[in-house]
């Protein structure tokens, strides 16, 4: 036992001696939570729009004023020809063009019908859908005014209520995602590199010939990373409740327990990576390249998992951060208790145990 404590002390000294890495370990989560929490948002507003008004009558002027007044649109100068439209789209200066044909008001009055043409730059499909919806909404409202809606029979009034995030901020979705991402990547990377480094420098050999038990070597290697990650976790939780107005609604104890489970799972993955990698570079590439993008995409905070093809959905099940992300959302944002996250907790525990068991068995006690 005394041996183990001495050894853990050695590992801590190693970590704390390297100030630059340490700064990065704590600086990264802070910078990410602050940057992403404040900067990332899914709300689409101030989209640049041009209007071509070939009619220039009272109705089109009213409609243009309504569009200009909306917070979703920024009206750019009006347009003379179709060539200009093409060029503006290619330059990316506008997202949408709204075209009123000639005799707009006259048609509307005499035939009761008039058509606005709306062209969206669909190279970003979501943005195109959203802003087309906004324009349609404005025009529907205007129609309702024309038809004098109050006098219409059978009015259905949908009452929409946005739960958990009434202002549709980006932070409630991104903070849990970033938590999962940062904890997972930092743990796997730090662990795998720390072990492979000893292999590369040859000091691992000295450890292996010593009477020290293999399990102790592993525990000592994992301990500093576990503690750093837990400290990180608290920094993130405090930051998000103080600056981003996202306090933990549910039980803090439950969240911390599940987080530690998740951290241990990530540490085990790092351990597993270190077994197969011969050089630090290979370990880094494995954890950085192999893990970063899949973790980002398959966790579910950027893209809804139910939209993915079945093989990908299946694949996402083996990404631990996916389950952790669900747990944080439920406990932190919705304030639910253990009864609604026991399944995810169980899955994480299973992953953690089996990964640790595999890496323990495969941990080589000989270098060649």
């Amino acid at each position: 036992m005394k041996q183990l404590i001495t050894f853990i002390r050695k590992e801590f000294l190693h970590v704390f001696r390297d100030r630059k890495t340490l700064l990065m370990l704590f600086g990264l989560p802070i910078a990410q939570i602050v940057l992403f929490g404040f900067a990332l948002s899914n709300e689409i507003k101030d989209s640049k729009v041009v209007v071509a008004d070939y009619s220039k009558d009272a109705v089109t002027r009213q409609l243009i004023n309504k569009i200009a007044a909306s917070k979703y649109f920024d009206l750019e100068q009006s347009l003379q020809s179709a060539d200009q439209l093409q060029a503006a789209f290619k330059k990316g200066t506008i997202k949408m063009a709204i075209i009123f044909p000639q005799n707009f008001a006259t048609d509307l009055i005499h035939t009761n019908k008039a058509t606005v043409q709306v062209i969206a730059d669909a190279s970003d499909p979501n943005q195109a859908t959203t802003i087309t919806n906004y324009v349609t909404q404005i025009i529907t409202d205007y129609n309702a005014g024309l038809a004098n809606d109050a006098g219409q029979p059978m009015q259905i009034l949908p009452e929409l209520q946005m739960l958990y995030n009434p202002e549709l901020r980006g932070a409630p979705n991104f903070v849990p995602g970033v938590m999962a991402l940062v904890l997972m990547l930092v743990c796997t990377m730090m662990t795998s590199v720390a072990i492979v480094k000893e292999k590369e420098l040859g000091t691992m050999e000295i450890l292996l010939v010593s009477p020290f038990k293999t399990i102790y070597i592993i525990i000592a290697k994992l301990a500093p990373n576990l503690i750093i990650s837990v400290v990180n976790l608290f920094i993130i939780l405090i930051l998000s409740s103080v600056f981003l107005d996202l306090p933990v609604k549910g039980s803090v104890l439950l969240l911390v327990f599940d987080s530690i489970l998740f951290i241990m799972t990530s540490l085990s993955i790092g351990l597993l990576l270190s077994i197969n990698a011969k050089t630090q570079q290979a370990a880094m590439m494995g954890s950085l390249m192999g893990m970063m993008l899949p973790t980002m995409l398959l966790t579910g905070f950027l893209f809804p998992i139910e939209n993915m093809p079945l093989p990908m959905q299946f694949l996402s099940n083996i990404v631990p951060s996916r389950w952790y992300f669900i747990i944080i959302k439920k406990v932190m944002l919705k304030g639910l208790g253990f009864s609604s996250v026991w399944k995810e907790t169980l899955i994480l525990a299973g992953m953690c145990l089996s990964l640790f068991a595999i890496s323990l068995r495969r941990f080589k006690i000989r270098l060649q």
């Binding site: 499909p125 259905i156 570079q281």
Partner: protein, 381 residues
């Protein structure tokens, strides 16, 4: 000049000799580019909806049928109370709860108006926003339908005094979607994912490579030779420039073969921008290497930048919807410019004059980073 050639020969030999690394560098991006765009589908469909039908009337059944037939919504199930529906939302089993009140049909007929209650899980802002908009427009359509049916029915005589829907002037919207008429999200994602892969593979390798020489001590041997430091640096950068171009080309081929994403624009424009981009990113790698003594440090620093670049450069969420201060920061990230260029050239066929601003921005960032790195690089420690 001669010494540069020798250095290049050395670098290429070292790069080609390390088969394990080379395999990772080339196979990993190809596999990721094949798999990841499938996951990156943000088109909003499959919004799951829990319905509380307290009315059980023809109207309520028709409305539910209309919602499920729209293709945007997936019915999770009916619950007996609003509270149960909300708990389904709480459990992530439904994104949306719709309550049809008692006397929905009767109220509409007798009192002319009736409320519907909709609660949306808004943690994912976009989904909530679009889901709400879709549902509102379906309800509006339904409203128009029942009015028309009601008025054409013979029993509607009592309503003749009210203005009918046909009398009202209507403005309709004809919407068209340029450059991506089928709203294929993959066309939008493949170019951006390719950029993140090139960034991670080629650019950050340069940092590791130099630091590795520092750690193993071989850099000392080069430092004591009369090789000038800019020659040494150029010798380090050119192999990674070539590697970047190779990965990029492979990526374009994969995008074309698997997703049918073929650049509409000029390839010369694409490759020209790629070289400027790599110049900037290799400069960053170089700068990272001058500030790190160990590979661990180089990795931590690179990881910091790559992660922030990936999240902030507009791959996943639009830069335009960020606040002004964040946009000011993002302007200094080379990937944000290259991702814009890629999407513009690949999807819209933009030419040099259209992308000149982004190209110039990348060149300036590249010059600053490289100059900084060269000034900071010391042959003596």
């Amino acid at each position: 000049m001669n010494s540069l050639l020798f250095l290049l020969e050395k670098e290429f030999r070292q790069l080609l000799r390390n088969r394990q690394l080379l395999r990772t560098l080339i196979i990993a991006p190809v596999i990721q580019l094949i798999l990841l765009p499938m996951a990156a589908d943000y088109s909003v469909k499959n919004i799951s909806i829990a319905v509380v039908d307290n009315d059980h009337s023809t109207f309520s059944r028709k409305l539910i049928a209309k919602i499920t037939a729209s293709g945007h919504f997936k019915l999770t199930g009916f619950t007996a109370s609003y509270k149960e529906a909300l708990s389904l939302v709480e459990q992530d089993k439904a994104d949306l709860a719709l309550q049809i009140p008692v006397d929905f049909e009767r109220g509409l007929v007798r009192e002319n108006s009736k409320k519907l209650y909709v609660a949306i899980d808004a943690i994912e802002g976009t989904k909530a926003n679009l889901g709400g908009a879709y549902l509102s427009s379906i309800i509006k359509d339904f409203n128009d339908d029942i009015r028309l049916n009601w008025q054409s029915a013979p029993t509607a005589a009592t309503f003749q005094s009210a203005p009918t829907i046909d009398d009202a002037p209507q403005i309709s919207v004809a919407a068209s979607n340029w450059y991506n008429p089928f709203m294929n999200y993959k066309l939008y994602m493949v170019p951006a994912i390719l950029v993140t892969l090139v960034t991670a593979m080629a650019a950050m390798q340069s940092a590791f490579n130099i630091v590795q020489e520092k750690e193993s001590g071989t850099i000392e041997q080069i430092n004591v030779t009369p090789i000038k430091k800019h020659i040494f640096i150029i010798g380090k950068l050119i192999p990674f420039l070539v590697l970047g171009i190779v990965i990029f080309t492979l990526g374009l081929l994969v995008g074309w073969a698997f997703y049918g994403v073929a650049p509409t624009g000029n390839l010369l424009v694409l490759y020209g921008s790629l070289v400027v981009y790599l110049f900037a990113m290799l400069g960053l790698g170089l700068l990272v290497s001058t500030y790190s003594a160990t590979q661990m440090q180089a990795m931590s620093l690179s990881f910091f930048f790559i992660n922030i670049f990936n999240m902030m450069s507009g791959v996943f969420s639009s830069v335009d919807s960020m606040p002004a201060w964040a946009q000011a920061i993002v302007v200094t990230f080379p990937p944000s410019h290259f991702i814009k260029i890629m999407r513009m050239v690949v999807l819209k066929g933009s030419g040099f004059s259209d992308i000149s601003y982004h190209l110039a921005a990348m060149a300036v960032i590249g010059l600053v980073l490289n100059t900084w790195a060269v000034l900071n690089y010391r042959k003596t420690s």
